[in-house]
């Protein structure tokens, strides 16, 4: 699509260089740990070495004796304010600091406040805690067995570790379809616990002013407005009132969902600042970040497909068990405790489906939040794209052919899925055809056959995913009751420049650039003249924040709608100044002119000046608008990915030789940024497929709790990503855009697994669990007698 605006205006479709970069490349970004306030104190946290233990005593005397240590805050301190527990976003509860027992290794036990961070760390070392270890439950299946120790003894009447049960679809019809099917396949899968590991960890500076009782919290949060409301609701009883709470989310060094939750550290820092009356800084270190912050996945699945002999899929059935740790602290929309897993029918026209999902408590940190995909979409796509390949193997069909046979056809949109979603638009066949042509699929299959004949292991994997993002329509989507709209407020200054503020918060996605381009597209004001601000609850309009690829679908739409409101008013001013009726005017980016007399025109800059200096009688002065955008539907980005791997028979190492991603995210605002988002997303798909895992031994000891053993891919392991696109506009979004941040993270893992399984399919291998480490693959090679 050719841009509609000139390079000077730089609206949609221009690869504008990012407006935020000049500060970042000079080291002038402003992250939370860069904030230094007068009198600021530092907080560090004492953490539990046990996964489950009674706290018998906490001895703070030695810590308090260290010069510079001012206070040690324990659960008992917070209990005095009734702040030792807090609600989660899923209407569960979690501890801020424990009074009776700890529930996971690395849980916060006490906090030391000191004059500098070294002394705070000394204080942590000096706090002595006496524990009595309790039986540990780390396996959610065992957690649900009768007789398992009940973990949430704080909940009156709780007799097991079951959290919730959730079903979608038609159970009876699905059972019938399976009974009548020519072919059925079934595959167990486990998606391990992983961590976003944004390079900046989490932290805050809490600054309570005792005189005017204002609280300012500089905080690593993707959702500052919601956080302000949560603080007001949780701590209203100690005098924090929402109009006196200001949450500022400064530059964020990555988020990926890990900066949505309210972690105990934030709350303790706020409580400490309220009690002491000084600013308190808390910034966690990497080990705390990996060991105690929200994890993602930890999802057990059994997926079954029923089909006719010719490969036509007739029914899908999936059963899942989610390990939520000791509290359900996910961040799903409240009506969707299991997230949007029901997108699991994927890109295929499957008429009948049923899913049932359960969740369990274990002695692990709470979460289930996100890893660049919030609402269990990654798990759903893994299930359908893997079991599709299992079916292809069963039928001895090429996996591409099986996909083409079952794709929802382009003329079937909007498409109502068996599990209730209305897919907005798509052309799945076109995306896969493009991917196969560009990568040379037929040639790769020939090469594979030749290599196989020589004993070499090469595989080709496909994933044709459908995403579901842009939450969401207020009739179904809320978090803690707050509807999931998002917002934009645009003010045009008299000289024709503008400021635009949003309820979202960039963590690297480039909002300062793309939002400016949206306003430029709609108003013809150069994007260079539009200042974008987010993250300060005192100035930005209320919104639910940035996660789940929702910023473009919601706040981006709000920007377009608000800009159009401004254009409508500018048109009235133009009609007044040009002495014609509004109907006689036509718009091109940047100006209104009289139809048939193009020399009679007013630029948006002239109209902005007139809005303050010469506006029509009876009209309010000024040129600004706000929009709270309630999307009519979710958006459904999609894509087809093809991965080519070679496997080393000596070491079991999987080498990704090529990876091509054809993405369709609807209309594109900034192609350079979209490509960058896909590169990053692919890397966060590669990582869990091959490297990353957080696991626990039977005593609940974490492995993968530091960068020593949690293997974030470096430039050495990451392939040279190849990207391409098709464009199927979203029919209901004002700009036709769909959102793109998470597509690649969702789509990449099954493509890689399918490639590795494909490389070994002639040996009878049908499935491999992720991460596909050299050890795991080598053991399979040895078992099959092909290891060198």
């Amino acid at each position: 699509m050719e841009p509609r605006t000139s390079a000077a205006i730089c609206g949609m479709g221009h690869s504008m260089k990012r407006k935020e970069d000049p500060r970042f490349i000079r080291g002038q970004g402003h992250y939370v740990d860069d904030i230094k306030l007068p009198g600021m104190l530092h907080m560090d946290i004492v953490r539990s070495p046990y996964a489950h233990a009674k706290i018998l005593a906490i001895h703070t005397e030695k810590a308090l004796a260290i010069p510079g240590v001012l206070a040690v805050i324990t659960g008992e301190t917070l209990k005095g304010f009734n702040l030792h527990w807090m609600p989660t976003l899923m209407s569960d509860t979690q501890m801020v600091l424990p009074v009776e027992k700890v529930m996971y290794q690395a849980q916060e036990v006490a906090a030391v406040i000191a004059t500098d961070r070294y002394i705070a760390a000394d204080g942590v070392e000096a706090v002595e805690v006496e524990y009595e270890p309790l039986p540990v439950v780390v396996d959610p299946k065992k957690a649900l067995e009768p007789g398992a120790p009940v973990l949430r003894t704080d909940k009156a009447g709780k007799t097991d570790n079951h959290i919730w049960h959730w079903e979608t679809g038609d159970r009876a019809a699905t059972e019938r379809a399976f009974a009548e099917a020519d072919v059925t396949v079934k595959q167990d899968m486990y998606i391990p616990r992983i961590h976003v590991a944004s390079i900046e960890t989490c932290g805050c500076v809490a600054d309570f002013n005792k005189t005017d009782t204002h609280l300012t919290v500089y905080m690593t949060t993707q959702a500052p407005h919601a956080i302000r409301t949560v603080f007001a609701l949780v701590a209203g009883h100690v005098g924090l009132s929402e109009e006196k709470i200001r949450v500022i989310s400064p530059d964020l060094g990555g988020g990926f969902g890990g900066k949505v939750p309210v972690y105990p550290g934030y709350v303790i820092a706020v409580a400490a600042s309220v009690v002491i009356g000084k600013p308190i800084k808390w910034v966690e270190d990497r080990m705390e970040n990996l060991q105690a912050d929200s994890f993602a996945r930890d999802y057990h699945m059994t997926a079954e497909l029923a089909a006719k002999k010719d490969g036509t899929m007739t029914a899908l059935r999936i059963k899942t068990l989610a390990d939520h740790g000791y509290a359900d602290a996910a961040a799903n929309p409240s009506k969707f405790p299991a997230g949007l897993f029901s997108i699991c029918t994927g890109s295929y026209d499957i008429k009948t489906a049923f899913t049932e999902m359960d969740a369990a408590y274990t002695n692990k940190p709470p979460g289930g939040v996100a890893y660049r995909c919030s609402f269990r979409v990654t798990e759903a796509v893994h299930a359908i794209e893997r079991v599709t390949d299992v079916l292809a193997a069963e039928l001895k069909m090429d996996p591409a052919e099986l996909r083409f046979k079952n794709f929802i056809q382009a003329d079937k949109f909007p498409y109502k899925s068996a599990l209730g979603w209305e897919y907005d638009s798509g052309n799945y066949k076109a995306a896969l055809e493009k991917a196969m042509e560009r990568i040379g699929y037929a040639e790769l299959r020939r090469e594979q056959a030749e290599k196989r004949a020589k004993g070499e292991l090469m595989g080709i994997g496909i994933c044709s995913f459908t995403e579901i993002v842009g939450a969401g329509p207020s009739k179904d989507f809320d978090i803690l009751g707050i509807k999931m709209f998002d917002s934009a407020e645009i003010r045009i200054h008299p000289t024709g420049k503008a400021i635009a503020r949003f309820g979202t918060k960039s963590q690297g996605q480039g909002h300062e650039t793309t939002y400016a381009q949206i306003v430029a597209e709609e108003l013809g004001i150069p994007a260079a003249h539009i200042q974008v601000e987010e993250g300060d609850t005192d100035t930005a309009p209320y919104g639910l924040g940035t996660y789940a690829s929702r910023s473009t679908p919601t706040a981006g739409a709000a920007a377009a709608v608000a800009a159009r409101k401004i254009r409508d008013k500018a048109k009235k001013i133009a009609a007044y100044l040009l002495e014609v009726s509004e109907d006689d005017l036509e718009w091109e980016p940047g100006k209104f002119s009289v139809k048939g007399a193009p020399q009679k025109s007013k630029t948006i800059q002239e109209l902005a000046f007139a809005a303050y200096t010469n506006h029509p009688p009876g009209m309010e002065a000024g040129l600004e608008a706000v929009d709270y955008y309630d999307p009519p539907n979710l958006t459904f980005p999609f894509g087809s990915y093809i991965c080519v791997v070679d496997i080393d028979r000596g070491t079991g190492e999987v080498k990704v030789r090529r990876f091509l991603a054809i993405d369709d995210c609807g209309n594109i605002i900034n192609p350079m940024i979209v490509d960058g988002q896909i590169h990053g997303g692919l890397s966060m798909g590669l990582a869990p497929a091959l490297f990353e895992e957080i696991s626990y031994d039977e005593s609940g000891n974490i492995s993968g709790g530091s960068f020593m053993d949690y293997l974030v891919p470096t430039a050495m392991e990451t392939p040279n990503w190849e990207t391409g696109k098709t464009v199927t506009p979203c029919p209901h979004h004002p700009l036709g855009a769909k959102g793109v941040g998470e597509s690649a993270t969702v789509g990449a893992p099954p493509a890689i697994v399918n490639a590795v399984v494909d490389a070994l399919s002639h040996l009878g291998v049908r499935h491999i669990e992720i991460p596909m480490t050299p050890e795991k693959v080598w053991n399979i090679l040895r078992e099959k007698g092909v290891a060198e």
């Binding site: 990012r18 000049p22 270190d285």
Partner: protein, 160 residues
């Protein structure tokens, strides 16, 4: 804890400081000298967000004591721009979309600048090897490699 008088030249300017033995170089830069462009991303010397040049060699300043920098020269991200003109590596990262959140960027640029100082025409494999001690979670490295190549081309004499 013992205190030490040190003198460190940072981006061409001499700084004197009295520091504890245990003070890390990264905290000397960030806390004592208030130069916050050098970031901290881990505690095991893996992520490279804190990379600075010590006498021209990339080091992870979270694993260097401030006293070890006594009498030596440190270059941080704040020292890349000269006389209002961006270093080629800074320009490369901007032009080639080599950064997203910006947190790994200072360390990544310093590592790359040191590579180019020693090897004006690195291959892609050499660039990947050079930056393998610097983690980026946003970009997938593709555009970082392009950024380094952009800077290399700009710095080569024939580019003028």
């Amino acid at each position: 804890m013992a205190q030490h008088q040190i003198q460190v030249k940072v981006n061409g300017t001499d700084h004197k400081a009295e520091v504890e033995s245990r003070l890390l170089l990264v905290h000397l830069l960030r806390e004592t000298l208030s130069m916050t462009g050098t970031h901290i991303g881990c505690d095991t010397t893996h992520c490279g967000a804190c990379t600075v040049l010590l006498d021209g060699v990339p080091v992870k300043s979270c694993t260097v004591l401030a006293v070890q920098a006594d009498g030596r020269e440190v270059t941080t991200v704040e020292g890349l721009e000269k006389d209002g003109k961006l270093h080629a590596i800074q320009d490369g990262f901007w032009q080639e979309h080599g950064l997203q959140c910006g947190f790994c960027t200072p360390g990544m640029m310093l590592t790359s600048a040191a590579l180019l100082a020693n090897n004006p025409d690195p291959s892609e494999a050499q660039i990947r090897q050079a930056i393998s001690g610097n983690l980026c979670r946003c970009t997938g490295y593709v555009n970082i490699i392009k950024s380094v190549q952009y800077a290399a081309a700009k710095l080569r004499p024939e580019a003028g």
